[in-house]
């Protein structure tokens, strides 16, 4: 995480100007289960992508390419909506 600012370094008024800072918060550390994507079973329908509350389905060249494990919280919505069972939930290894 970024170093804590002193009061003199804060903006005038309670505002956030750096909208990228949120990426520091790697919510992937929350997981107790992780989704595992089977490329062979996937026919990109994008349902996993549209239903992920954390935008953790990675797309590349217009196709599903995997899971962003830095941010995936392991909720399991993707696995439950996939019409081809191309995503399964496994226990997170620590």
């Amino acid at each position: 995480m970024a170093k804590l600012k002193s009061w003199r370094e804060l903006p005038c008024g309670a505002i956030i100007e750096d909208l990228q800072a949120v990426r520091e918060n790697k919510t992937g550390s929350w997981r107790s289960r992780r989704p595992v994507w089977d490329e062979k079973k996937c026919r990109p329908c994008y349902l996993c992508w549209v239903y992920c509350p954390d935008s953790a389905i990675v797309l590349k060249d217009g196709k599903v390419a995997g899971i962003d494990y830095d941010y995936c919280k392991g909720c399991g919505i993707c696995a439950s909506v996939c019409p081809r069972q191309a995503i399964t939930m496994e226990k997170e290894k620590k």
Partner: protein, 384 residues
């Protein structure tokens, strides 16, 4: 231009000249006329302002904050229960450092209900981070509102300008107003520190903070208020240079050789002046100290000016219900506490709910202050 205006009319006139971008307001006695008059200016095309007839004072301040966050020059008007209703929003405006300017026709707070003038409403909001100005006359109200816009925009703090409810708001006075163009030039355009509508540079206004940052944001806001006095004095000076009149933050009336003085804010200053003159005629060495700016609390000036007197009587037009004296009294004694030599300070609460504070009452107070002591901690002037 010489005009006959009541306090409300004068403030509305000033608002017309200020020509704010957005006004979001709700009517409440005794400030209603300000909103009414301004609506007429809008519908007659005399201002460019957008007027939002909100459905409550709380929404008024929320809408003001929304518009001010977009860099607009924003104003509103209220009193009493309305100011109390928007209480949480006042703190938010302060924390967001938005230079919203508000007219307050100072009025008492329920219960029981009372529509008349006292300072309870503004003083109940003294911790909200707003600049607070208290005016003695209608003309001073007009002047102060014009100054407040410039001060708020430089200090990045919201400001309220208080005129005593009914006593000033509804009192017809001969005032000298300035030229529209001169006012416009005096004010210039605001330099907002952020603009929500600048979507090419998106920001988030009003985040949540945890224990690691809240205190730091507050410290920063406090510093803003700490730095307000030089800005107030600079703007007052610019005003005097351009318009030929002005008022100091603290005014001393016949205090040069006074051993006892009364410290007072608002319209009662006029009454006290009159009483001082009467007593001076009888050879009594009394004076009046008028405080125009309540926030920021100008402690170094107060120490410097009040320290030399033997007794200071503090007149409060509000009460804090069993604090040690009225609100202004507790603030002043706090300021004077560290002085190696400090005056005796006496607490007087007067005029709540618009109860008349007559010259005879002022004379009695002055005489008692001159005597230098009284039996009870707080004297409730004129209470049966």
């Amino acid at each position: 231009m010489i005009l006959a205006k009541t306090g409300n009319e004068a403030l509305a006139w000033a608002m017309r000249q200020i020509n704010p971008d957005v006004v979001a307001a709700y009517p409440i006695t005794p400030s209603t006329e300000i909103v009414q008059l301004f609506s007429t200016y809008v519908n007659d095309g005399l201002v460019d302002s957008e007027f939002v007839a909100v459905e409550s004072e709380h929404s008024a301040m929320a809408a003001c904050i929304g518009a001010a966050a977009c860099g607009c020059r924003v104003m509103t008007a209220t009193a009493s229960q309305g100011l109390a209703l928007m209480h949480e929003m006042l703190f938010i405006a302060g924390g967001l450092r938005l230079p919203i300017v508000m007219c307050v026709a100072s009025r008492s707070l329920s219960a029981p209900l009372n529509i008349h003038g006292d300072h309870s409403d503004s003083l109940a909001s003294r911790d909200s981070g707003w600049l607070q100005f208290f005016c003695e006359t209608v003309e001073e109200g007009y002047d102060t509102l014009l100054q407040a816009v410039k001060i708020a925009e430089r200090a990045y703090l919201p400001a309220l300008v208080a005129i005593d409810g009914f006593i000033l708001s509804h009192c017809l006075e001969r005032i000298e107003t300035f030229d529209d163009q001169d006012v416009r030039e005096f004010l210039g355009r605001p330099k907002p520190n952020y603009n929500l509508l600048d979507y090419r540079h998106p920001i988030l206004v009003g985040p949540a903070t945890l224990q690691d940052y809240y205190f730091e944001f507050k410290r920063s806001q406090i510093e803003g208020m700490n730095n307000a006095l030089p800005i107030i004095e600079a703007v007052q000076q610019e005003f005097r240079e351009r318009f030929g009149r002005g008022y100091p933050v603290i005014e001393e009336y016949r205090c040069d050789d006074a051993s006892a003085v009364v410290l007072v804010m608002g319209s009662a200053c006029g009454t006290v002046r009159y009483a001082v003159d009467q007593l001076r005629q009888a050879g009594k060495k009394v004076g009046m100290v008028k405080l125009r700016v309540f926030r920021p609390l100008v402690h170094s000036l107060l120490k410097e000016r009040l320290g030399r007197f033997q007794t200071v009587g503090v007149l409060d037009r509000a009460d804090a219900v069993n604090s040690y004296g009225g609100p202004l009294f507790t603030e002043v004694t706090s300021v004077l506490y560290d002085l190696p030599q400090r005056p005796k300070v006496l607490s007087y609460v007067y005029g709540l709910g618009g109860k008349e504070f007559a010259p005879e009452d002022a004379v009695k107070v002055l005489e008692e202050v001159l005597a230098g002591k009284k039996a009870e901690l707080v004297t409730y002037v004129g209470v049966r």
